[in-house]
C-alpha cells in the first residue's frame, strides 16, 4: 500500500515536472517567435515581396533570391541581426536594387513570398524614398540634384521643383518624391553625396500617413459632392453692384492727380 502510494506520488511528480517543462519550453519558444517576427518593421524586402506578415510566414529562408540577384543586392539576415532570421533584405546605401526588367529574384522564389503577380519591375514597392530637407544639399541652395538624375523613374518618382530662396531672387531646385511612382529601389540613397544619405528608403508603414475616409476633398474630380455639401439654392438676384468709376488699380493715393 505504502509502496503503491510512493510510486503514485512519483508518477504525479514526474507528470507535473514534465508538464511544467513542456509549458516553459512552449512559452519561451512563443516569446522568441514574437520577438523575431513581430518587432522588426525596418527590413527592406526584395521586389514583389508580400506584406510583412505574409512574407514572414511564406518565406522558407532558402536564399534562392539572394543567389539569383546579379548585383549581390540581397542578403539573408543572419541570427541576431535585428531582422527576422534567415529572410532576404537589402541595404540600399551599400547596394541598391537595380530594378532588373526580368526580375530574377522574384522568378527564383519557390514559395511565392516574392509574388509572381509583379509583372513590371517599376510596379514594385520595396519602400519609399524620404528626403531630410535639413541636410539635403539642394535644399541648402546647391545644385546637387543627384538623386533626381540617378532615379530610374526620373520625372515620375523624383521631380525637381522650384522653391524660393531667402536671400536671393533666384529660386532653388529641390527634389520631391512621389509615392505613386517610387519603387524604393534605393539608387538615390546610394548616390546621395552627403556623409549620411539625406534621402533614404523606409518601409511605407513607417513614413506614410493616411487621411481617413471622412475627409471629402470636394475639389478633386473623384469625390462625389453629397447632399450636405451641395451649395444652397441661389438666392434672389441681388441688385447689380455699382460699377466703379475708376479702374481698380487706381488707389486713393493717386486720387486727385
Amino acid at each position: 500500500m505504502a509502496e503503491a502510494n510512493v510510486t503514485r506520488r512519483d508518477f504525479l511528480v514526474k507528470l507535473a515536472q514534465g508538464t511544467s517543462l513542456a509549458a516553459t519550453g512552449a512559452f519561451l519558444w512563443a516569446h522568441l517567435l514574437r520577438q523575431e517576427a513581430r518587432a522588426q518593421p525596418y527590413a527592406l524586402r526584395p521586389p514583389g515581396a508580400l506584406s510583412e506578415l505574409d512574407f514572414n510566414a511564406m518565406c522558407i529562408k532558402c536564399g534562392q533570391c539572394v543567389t539569383a540577384c546579379p548585383y549581390d543586392t540581397l542578403k539573408l539576415a543572419p541570427a541576431g541581426g535585428g531582422i527576422p532570421i534567415g529572410t532576404p533584405h537589402f541595404t540600399p546605401r551599400k547596394v541598391p536594387c537595380y530594378l532588373c526588367p526580368d526580375i530574377p529574384c522574384m522568378n527564383a522564389c519557390p514559395t511565392g513570398a516574392l509574388s509572381p503577380e509583379l509583372k513590371n519591375i517599376n510596379d514594385s514597392r520595396m519602400g519609399l524614398a524620404v528626403i531630410d530637407i535639413e541636410n539635403c544639399l539642394s535644399w541648402k541652395g546647391l545644385r546637387c540634384e543627384i538623386c533626381h538624375r540617378e532615379c530610374p523613374l526620373k520625372g515620375k518618382a523624383i521631380t525637381l521643383e522650384t522653391h524660393p530662396r531667402q536671400l536671393s531672387k533666384h529660386a532653388m531646385f529641390v527634389p520631391l518624391v512621389h509615392s505613386d511612382a517610387c519603387t524604393g529601389c534605393g539608387i538615390c540613397e546610394r548616390a546621395c553625396p552627403t556623409q549620411e544619405a539625406a534621402i533614404r528608403i523606409l518601409p511605407h508603414n513607417l513614413v506614410q500617413g493616411k487621411i481617413g475616409e471622412h475627409y471629402r476633398l470636394g475639389w478633386t474630380f473623384e469625390t462625389e459632392i453629397t447632399q450636405d455639401f451641395k451649395p444652397a439654392a441661389p438666392a434672389a438676384p441681388a441688385a447689380p453692384a455699382e460699377v466703379p468709376k475708376q479702374a481698380p488699380g487706381m488707389d486713393y493715393l493717386n486720387q486727385g492727380l
Binding site: 513542456a22 519550453g25 512552449a26 519558444w29 512563443a30 522568441l32 517567435l33 514574437r34 523575431e36 517576427a37 506578415l53 505574409d54 514572414n56 510566414a57 511564406m58 522558407i60 529562408k61 532558402c62 536564399g63 534562392q64 539572394v66 543567389t67 539569383a68 542578403k75 539573408l76 539576415a77 543572419p78 541570427a79 541576431g80 541581426g81 527576422p84 532570421i85 534567415g86 527564383a108 522564389c109 519557390p110 514559395t111 511565392g112 509572381p116
Partner: protein
C-alpha cells in the same frame, strides 16, 4: 570512432575499411554544403544561367530542373494558412519520396550539418567518459514536433524554422556568418555535458519528423542475422539510438525496423560476427531464411 571502441591491433587498411560509412557520411555532408556554397559564391553552373544547386537545405533547385524543399518546413508554412506556390510543394514531395524510400533519418546521418556537431560531442563524451547526469525520454522529440506545428498555426510563422539551429548553421555556412554559432555551441555543450545524444536523440523535431517518415516505407535497412549474433552488445554501444537495437525485437523482425535508425552505419563494421549488414528490405527475408538454413546444415 569505431576503432576507439575496439582497440585490437589491426592494419591501416582494415581500420579505414571499418570507418567506411563514417567517411562516406562526412563526404556526403560536406559535399552537399560545398555544392550549395559553390553555387552561391563561385557561381557554379551547368550551363549559362543554369546554377548547379541554388538555395539551401530549406529549398533549392538542382541544375534548373529539380526543385527540392524541406517537407517539414513546407508543412509548417502550410499550417500557418498560407497558400504556397506549386514549385515548393513539388520540391517537398520529391524530397519526401526520396527519404521515404531510403529511410527518413538518412537525412540526419548523411545530410544534416548539425550532425557534425552532435557527433563530435558524442564522440568526446565517450572518449573522456563524461557521465550522463540527466534523463529525458526519447519521445520528447515527438512532443516538440507536435508543438512546432501547433505554434506555427497559432503564431502565423513557421515555428521551428524561426529558431532552428539546423537552419542557422547551414544558412550561415552557405550565406555568411551571424550569431548562429551561439545556438550550435549551446547544442554542443548540452550534448557534451548535460544529456547524451541530447539534441538529435531527444529534442530535434526535424529528426522526429524524419523518424515518422519512412517508418514503414524505408527500403534500405540494416539486416540482422540472428543465427550468428552472440549478443555481445557492441552494436548498441556505438549506436546513437541504441533503443533501435533491441535484440529481442530484431530476432523477430530480422532487421532494424525503427524509424529512429538513421542508417549511419556505425553498427555494421563493429559487429564482430558480421550479423548486421545494410540490405534492401525486399531481399532481407530471403537472406535471413537462407542464413537460417545454412546454419542448420
Amino acid at each position: 570512432m569505431t576503432s576507439a571502441a575496439n582497440p585490437s591491433p589491426r592494419g591501416l587498411g582494415v581500420r579505414l575499411w571499418s570507418w567506411r560509412y563514417f567517411m562516406l557520411r562526412r563526404l556526403s555532408q560536406f559535399g552537399i554544403l560545398l555544392l550549395f556554397f559553390g553555387t552561391a559564391h563561385w557561381g557554379w553552373q551547368v550551363a549559362k544561367d543554369v546554377p548547379l544547386l541554388i538555395g539551401n537545405l530549406s529549398a533549392s533547385e538542382f541544375v534548373g530542373l529539380f526543385p527540392m524543399a524541406d517537407p517539414f518546413a513546407t508543412l509548417q508554412i502550410f499550417v500557418t494558412g498560407h497558400l504556397l506556390q506549386q514549385k515548393v510543394i513539388i520540391g517537398a514531395l520529391i524530397v519526401l519520396a526520396f527519404y521515404a524510400l531510403v529511410g527518413g533519418r538518412v537525412y540526419c546521418a548523411w545530410v544534416c550539418p548539425v550532425n557534425l556537431v552532435t557527433d563530435l560531442a558524442g564522440w568526446l563524451r565517450q572518449r573522456f567518459g563524461i557521465p550522463a547526469p540527466t534523463y529525458l525520454g526519447r519521445n520528447t522529440r515527438y512532443f516538440v514536433l507536435a508543438a512546432s506545428l501547433v505554434l506555427s498555426a497559432l503564431m502565423g510563422v513557421a515555428a521551428f524554422e524561426w529558431v532552428s539551429p539546423i537552419g542557422m548553421m547551414q544558412r550561415e555556412i552557405i550565406f555568411g556568418f551571424g550569431l548562429g554559432f551561439q545556438a550550435l555551441l549551446a547544442i554542443f555543450l548540452f550534448d557534451l555535458l548535460i544529456l547524451k545524444h541530447g539534441w538529435c536523440g531527444h529534442l530535434c523535431p526535424l529528426g522526429a519528423f524524419w523518424s515518422v517518415v519512412g517508418r514503414r516505407t524505408a527500403q534500405v535497412r540494416v539486416r540482422f542475422d540472428k543465427t550468428t549474433c552472440t549478443h555481445c552488445g557492441d552494436c548498441a554501444k556505438v549506436c546513437p539510438e541504441p533503443q533501435v537495437l533491441n535484440l529481442k525485437r530484431l530476432e523477430e523482425v530480422g532487421y532494424v525496423y525503427s524509424g529512429e535508425c538513421s542508417n549511419c552505419g556505425r553498427c555494421t563494421p563493429v559487429c564482430p560476427e558480421g550479423s548486421l549488414r545494410f540490405d534492401l528490405r525486399p531481399l532481407i527475408r530471403r537472406h535471413n531464411i537462407e542464413a537460417g538454413k545454412g546454419h542448420e546444415q
